[in-house]
Subunit: 132 residues, 2 copies
């Protein structure tokens, strides 16, 4: 691998990890998940969202900024109203990370099950051998 | 719905949301995700993990505590060594939340596409009608 290729790969990995950090952090809040659920149905202004979640405008603005940085929400100001809609981030990398964890989790526990079965079988055989 | 049922449902929802908060926050860190990736292959002591991630013992302990609270890691102290292994939390609710977001995201964007197509078609027809 050439140095430029290696540097590109490292850069890509760092960005990938930073994106996962930002997205998972954005999802780690019940209000922010609620805002996304709301925007799946219809666009909404920040004041609509503040009202719906019984929150100050400033509090809601902060949540929307976190979602915007994660690419989960896009906002647009028309006149005095800032409208929020779903961003283009489809959570593909996050879904893939979780799926991979689940897959390897199962593999790991299957291996442990097998080991337990093997030990049980061995114990039975040992007992039988002692009897004979 | 009886009051006890309703209370049960509300409790369930609050717990569900709190669990999502805790898990997504636990996943929002590159070292913690790295620890989980490591434990998918083999159990490890906290000092093994600290060494591998070039971190102080105290720093690693903090990360492991966050993972433990989220049910993603189980630790067991034997003598002076605390061993970490994968917890029983399989991230099912988190995967379901993301899958639902992706599904409704697509539905919302399909609806927008359809609206754009409809407007394009309408424009064409209008132009044609004006010409005749």
């Amino acid at each position: 691998m050439q140095i430029t290729d290696a540097r590109h790969t490292v850069n890509h990995m760092v960005h990938h990890q930073a994106r996962l950090d930002t997205t998972f952090a954005a999802l780690a809040d019940v209000t922010r998940r609620g805002v996304l659920e709301q925007l799946r149905h219809a666009d909404a202004s920040i004041s609509d969202l503040a009202q719906r979640f019984e929150m100050t405008l400033t509090g809601m603005k902060k949540h929307v900024t976190v979602l915007e940085r994660a690419g989960l929400v896009i906002t647009e100001k028309v006149g005095r109203v800032r409208t929020c809609r779903l961003g283009t981030h489809q959570l593909e990398e996050e879904a893939a990370w979780i799926a991979r964890h689940q897959e390897l989790w199962s593999a790991r526990f299957d291996a442990l099950d097998e080991m337990v079965e093997h030990l049980k079988h061995k114990e039975k055989t040992d007992v039988r051998n002692k009897r004979t």
